[in-house]
Amino acid sequence: MVEVFEEISPADFFYRNRDIAGFTNPSRAIYSTIRELVENSLDACEIHKILPDVYIRLLKESDSSGEPNKYRIRVEDNGSGLPSDIVPLAFGQVLFGSKYKLRQTRGTFGLGGKMAVLYGQITTHSETKIISSNGKSKIFEFHLMMDIKNNKPEILKKETYHNNSKWHGTIIEFLTEADYTRAKAKILEYLKQTAIVAPYANITFVDPKGRFYKFDRFTTTMPRPSIETTPHPHGVDVETIKRLVGITKVKNMKDFMREHFQRVGETTAIKFLDFSKVDQKRNPLDITPEEIVLLVNGMKNYNAFLPPDASCLSPLGEESLKTGIQKEFNPEFIAVHQRKPSAYSGFPFIIEAGVAYGGNIPRTGNILLYRFANKIPLLFDEASDVSWKVIHNMVNWRHYKISADDPLAVFTHICSLKIPYKTVGKEFIADRPEVEREILNAIREVARHLSIYLSRKNFIEKERKRLDIFSKYLPKMASFSTKLAKKEKEPDIMPLLRGLKKYEEQKE
């Protein structure tokens, strides 16, 4: 028996293993398709500080009854658009994109959009149409298919139009197999939660029955965009150093450290190289494999680096989070809190948390949990998430006089250069100790605020009741004691009742 060896393209690999990216079946696939395209659209707006308008339309194409069926998906945004030479690769070649940098974005694998296209193509064998403009003079329209075996886009048609209205943005449209009936609830929940973390976006969804779901902009304040950054020494491995050595322009190791890593200045560079026993005058080009290992070990064990810089991150901001919650739940009380930046394994992260009470939040007997990571709502496998663990096993709600029967929702958002997902499905956050601690502290902070609010509310209620009680019981005391003491005349209690209010004020 002879084994045959062969090489396959990355597109082919993901085609064979599309479950990895969430394209398991027609129901999950349409959910993933919408999600990936919406996230690309939001990223395309936010990085360029454009207030997002995202329009999603799903049309049933074939008229056969039942599911799964063929649907035409169309997603439009008003983002920055793509350069015309990039368009075919960005949608037709796996492992090509802009998300491989050290920068906070919604997607982390840069794979989702292509998988949506790929799934559409293998289920319907039809082309994908992309229209894009950067707002300058021209609009480009491409009709593409993917050559999966060779991981290359095939351009079937390319048109160029005048851009009279200076429109900018990207439109993508293709046929795909879907089971919308089963996916519907999750899709709507996804859009609703996305609206919570992006209250500055207009999101419109037209479903196959022609129903409009509109999530309107509530604020024009946008979070600061994320910024590309250099790695922190604590998060570096051998491969990273090897690559930097290959591209660096500096001539000695001291400058190498200062140039390519955050939080490394003159003094730190010298001290660190000393610690690692690497000569600071050495040319990076001459460095040996053994020295690279020395450097990496040094970076792991050297404790005097400043913690990773979080200024590159784009958190929601307390106002945005508050606005989003207000908009969707109109609660009686909201508290939000953003923690100071922290870091795990060399990656900075920021935790934001919110708590909302009353209003449209139902009493379910459980605290509702809404989880977000880099502005993406996480909808699946809630019970495996670190936030769930914190809320159910770590926060002592009784301490805040809050019970699971209260109409309560908790919101957690983590933003980071690298979200510590436990699985590729991007559905739940691993319980790294640093992350867990920050979430715990954030939730405690907002719970404290809620607790104060609830106490005050209680207090006012109580004051009203106390006067009632005095008025009820003092006359009885007078009457009973008169009888018991075998007296004729009852004592007058009016002076006591009159003095009561003043007396109580003194006591406070």
Partner: protein, 364 residues
């Protein structure tokens, strides 16, 4: 009949109580008259104010006092309830009527003083006991439970309609109920020379049938589990007024042991009261060592039993040698036995063999 150590005080006691209640009313009345928010002080019954007094051989309350004041929003309702309860108790006593805890609960409604539940009204009764220093039976509030007595003791009723009438307590061989009438009766004549208190009703009937009262010149008292306070009162009076030794037979387990102890040294719950315990009474069985000696049918101690034994070991009332030894034996053998367990040797064995042996040993 033996000489009574002291003149029975039933009538005098009643007069004192009526006066004490009235004084309490007067105190509140005067405070209101002076435009003061009414208040009263009483000894605290919290656990850290309960002490064991080895002279009295019972629990007593310490010096800590609690003030219940109408200035405090949480006190005003219970204070009013207490005044009403005092009024109600005063009327009961004056009219020589009795009542139950349940009656108190309902009677309050006539005064728009509804108690939240039975628990609340029971608590207020206990407060009143603490304030005036007498148990509720003394102001004629009785519980539902009834235990029984049998033996050659003649009592003289003080109850209206029965005043001066006498009855010998062997009249009815099912036993005489210990209710308000018997509790308030004077002891007129007694031929017995000891008292045997028994936890279980079946055994009480057996003792009557086997004529233990006759053979051993004993007054038999059925405690019906944990003895009600009226029964503890009778036991004490038999011991103190008639100088009869009291022997207590219970099940051989921590709970039976504690039934005996409460008769002897009182309970922490009643630390605010006196004259309910009989310090010289003796626990005569079923001991842990009896289980071994008589090879009694037994059950394994439960977790709860063992926990209870460890608690008792730390209890100051259990300092005596006998108690310490028996607790230790229980924990060693990890077994317990009921009084009825002697039936395995025949129904009369307990009377023919066990009881005489025990009484002989106790009298040494």
């Amino acid at each position: 009949m033996r000489n009574k150590k002291s003149e029975s005080s039933i009538k005098k006691k009643k007069e004192i109580i009526i006066q004490t209640l009235q004084n309490f009313g007067l105190q509140i009345y005067d405070q209101l008259w002076n435009c003061e928010f009414p208040w009263t002080k009483m000894p605290s019954r919290s656990i850290n104010n309960i002490f064991y007094d080895s002279n009295l051989r019972q629990y007593i309350l310490g010096d800590k006092a609690v003030k219940r004041s109408a200035t405090n929003i949480r006190h005003i309702r219970p204070l009013t309830q207490m005044i009403w309860t005092a009024l109600f108790a005063n009327e009961l006593s004056t009219q020589k009527k009795t009542s139950t805890l349940r009656d108190v609960f309902y009677s309050a409604q006539a005064y728009e003083m509804s108690f939240k539940d039975q628990q609340e009204s029971d608590n207020i009764i206990t407060d009143l006991e603490t304030v005036i220093g007498h148990s509720r039976e003394d102001f004629n509030v009785f519980p539902e439970e009834r235990s029984a007595i049998f033996g050659d003791l003649t009592i003289e009723y003080t109850l209206p309609g029965y005043e001066g009438r006498r009855l010998n307590l062997t009249s009815h061989p099912d036993g005489m109920m210990i209710g308000p009438a018997l509790t308030n009766a004077e002891f007129a004549d007694c031929k017995a020379d000891k008292v045997i208190a028994i936890e279980k009703g079946g055994l009480f009937t057996r003792f009557v049938e086997e004529r233990v009262h006759d053979k051993f010149k004993a007054i038999l008292v059925h405690t019906a589990g944990q003895a009600p306070r009226a029964t503890r009162d009778i036991l004490r009076r038999l011991n103190q007024e008639l100088e009869l030794p009291v022997y207590i037979f219970t099940d051989g387990d921590p709970w039976g042991m504690h039934i005996a102890m409460v008769i002897i040294s009182g309970s922490a719950n009643a630390a605010h009261l006196r004259d309910l315990n009989t310090p010289d009474a003796k626990w005569s069985g079923v001991w842990a060592s009896d289980i071994v000696e008589y090879k009694l049918p037994s059950d394994k101690l439960t977790e709860l039993d063992i926990k209870r034994l460890h608690e008792l070991r730390k209890d100051p009332r259990y300092r005596g040698k006998l108690w310490k030894k028996e607790i230790k034996t229980f924990l060693n053998i990890k077994k317990k036995a009921e009084q009825e367990a002697f039936s395995r040797y025949g129904l009369t064995y307990i009377v023919d063999e066990y009881l005489p042996t025990k009484l002989e040993a106790m009298e040494e």
